[in-house]
Symmetry: C2
């Protein structure tokens, strides 16, 4: 199939592009390098060195004999999006190309507005381009399990049957997102559902859990194929952060009580899930939601697992002043059967997964900047120390 | 109280400002004249002539001895919003200042992106300004009953108790909005709810039904105090449109079967509801939703009521090719007790209401442009004949 991977230079976009390429698909990767720009803005860097997109693409061709075609542009530039879709003529589009950090969206007003504008407008442009150029294109959109928040009932996959005062309907699952970033994904989901309804588009919304891991079958083929690994307080995700903290002897940063429970998955399962969604496309007019995670863990459980790999040498620091506004103890049970039904065989989290992640962290420990580890963005404040006020253009 | 009315030059904003002024409040009216700009863009005009804001304000002072302070600026200009809030120091802000037409948002990609950007960013800027300058300000935000769509269960006021697999929670009511405009209001609601949660803001989201009527106790005091009256296919609302159609002998334009049922209210009740919300503010940290309508009618019922005022002289044209994507026959029952509990005494729709509306239409029948009556925007198409493509700047 012909597949465009939007955000194909990022943490998950790049390995997804390689995976799809190796599986025989014709892949185009699209990026505006916004993610690399956030590093420059904050003065942080990927733990694992990454090469430039053009160099990665060349290296992949050397290693595999396969070509992924790079396109450089911004989804908020409608003319670019239309030209891209009209020229590449994809059968599926995988859309990773959004600002994806909750703390980044909470830095200040500028970053909240940027996140919602960038994500919502880019996605709207894409919906219109698909509708006008080829409505049969299957849009595989990355959402997040964080759209649901932590309700006191079971989370279903996108929709829920509600019986109320003697009548019953199946309705969109109520959302309680926890940051302006998570809100942007909720806005996207609502816009996509509507576009499928009025124009007959087909879309799969992948409500993804928190991803851990860094190596995939393709990225390990050459150091220049590596994908990024974030451990900083803004873009780093919990398990990846804990592994880096353990390696450099930093206490594991558990926010509050650590009872926050989240769906999680191995980076290799992200690739498999995206491929399953593509090869089993939504019907014409169908908007479907898959909850894309394999297991649930509390933050405290993750800290314990990492500590167990370094007996007696890792401490846990419960940060009483939780920078986020979230329930620290709550019910959490979320359905995630649709991808299993399509054949997903998960890589479950094990001691050996953690060991290999710790090995990655250890290999690059000299690149760790301890100052980058701290959580600097406070949900209860409207501006963090990272705010650069007028210095960051909203239209970036 | 000191009250800012955002969008205070518009159909409802202007009479709301006068009403609050007459009730003894210190009122500022804020507008960027976007609404007048849409008229220029589409070559249509208010049926009832309206004066410029500065002239209206002067006339109100002459007539009442009361001053409403005009401020000209755009909510998407954050610096303006901050200065406005810091200088006026309102205790309540009534936020009407959004693009409010569903067909306008569906003209093409430009107008969809403009509507969502304008509405969402303006509202985000306002939330940040309130949080940073004075979190005790009560935000009274105009939403729409259209956020809910037409579910097959009773609609509640913002939240619904759901029992699912043996557990129960009260969650945000699921939304099924029917245009990119309605979606923008859903996005706003989610952003406001979050801001109340993390920053302790107080807000009332008025999910308003379709408003009819044009005259209020204040606007009738002088012709130069009149508010606008839209009958065109893009900004005109159903009952106002039917009255104009009846007066000029145009068939009443019922889309499809006419079974579409909506909550409605008299323009005078909009003013009363906004005042009730202001004088009974939300608590600190509270996000509450009032369903602001007084009666439900199907489109066919409204057409019959108008036809009954002109026995034998009005025809109904069922437009089989419904320009919208909507259910033409459906269940509809929506709670609307919270404003009644606060003391609202509704003006229910009667023959005399329709007669007075017909009288307004008749008085200005020479200003009716028959070409403006047609519905030109098709939901199923991505671009209507009104699309001006590159000619309308997105950042307007």
């Amino acid at each position: 199939m012909r597949i465009l991977v939007l955000g194909g230079d990022g943490y998950l976009g790049w390995p997804t592009a390689l995976h799809l390429s190796r599986r025989g698909h014709d892949v185009g990767v699209v990026d505006n390098f916004a993610r690399r720009g956030y590093d420059l803005e904050m003065g942080v860097d990927s733990l694992v060195p990454i090469t430039q997109l053009q160099q990665r693409v060349k290296r992949w061709e050397d290693v595999s004999g396969l070509r992924v075609e790079p396109y450089v542009g911004d989804l908020c530039d409608a003319a670019f999006v239309y030209r891209l879709v009209a020229e590449f003529r994809p059968e599926a589009i995988v859309h990773f190309a959004e600002q994806r950090s909750a703390p980044y969206s909470m830095i200040d007003r500028h970053h909240a507005v940027y996140t919602q504008t960038n994500n919502v407008v880019g996605n709207l442009n894409l919906l219109y381009a698909i509708a006008e150029i080829d409505p049969s294109i299957h849009l595989v959109k990355l959402g997040t399990m964080g759209e649901y928040g932590t309700p006191n009932i079971d989370i279903e996959e996108g929709f829920i049957e509600i019986t109320h005062r003697g009548r019953t309907d199946v309705l969109p699952y109520p959302k309680q997102p926890g940051s302006f970033y998570h809100l942007s994904k909720v806005h996207d989901s609502a816009n996509i559902m509507f576009a499928c309804r009025i124009w007959g588009l087909r879309s799969t919304d992948l409500n993804q859990g928190i991803v851990y891991g860094q190596e995939t079958d393709e990225t390990v083929l050459h150091p220049e194929l590596a994908t990024r690994f974030d451990y900083d307080g803004v873009f780093g995700t919990v398990l990846n952060r804990f592994c880096v903290q353990a390696v450099v002897g930093h206490p594991l940063t558990v926010y509050g009580k650590g009872g926050q429970t989240r769906g999680m998955l191995d980076i290799r399962d992200t690739l498999a899930c995206v491929e399953l969604a593509i090869t089993n496309p939504a019907e014409e007019g169908e908007y479907r939601v898959f909850n894309q995670f394999t297991e649930s863990f509390s933050v405290a459980e993750l800290a314990e697992m990492v500590a167990a790999a370094f007996p007696g040498r890792v401490t846990v620091a419960n940060i009483d002043d939780n920078p986020r506004v979230e329930k620290e103890e709550h019910y959490y049970r979320a359905a995630h059967t649709k991808l299993l039904d399509l054949g997903l065989v998960p890589h479950l989290l094990s001691g050996s997964t953690i060991s290999s992640l710790l090995a990655v962290a250890d290999r690059h420990r000299d690149r760790v900047d301890p100052a980058a580890i701290e959580a600097t963005v406070q949900w209860r404040k409207t501006a963090s120390s990272l705010a650069t006020a007028g210095l960051v253009a909203e239209s970036r």
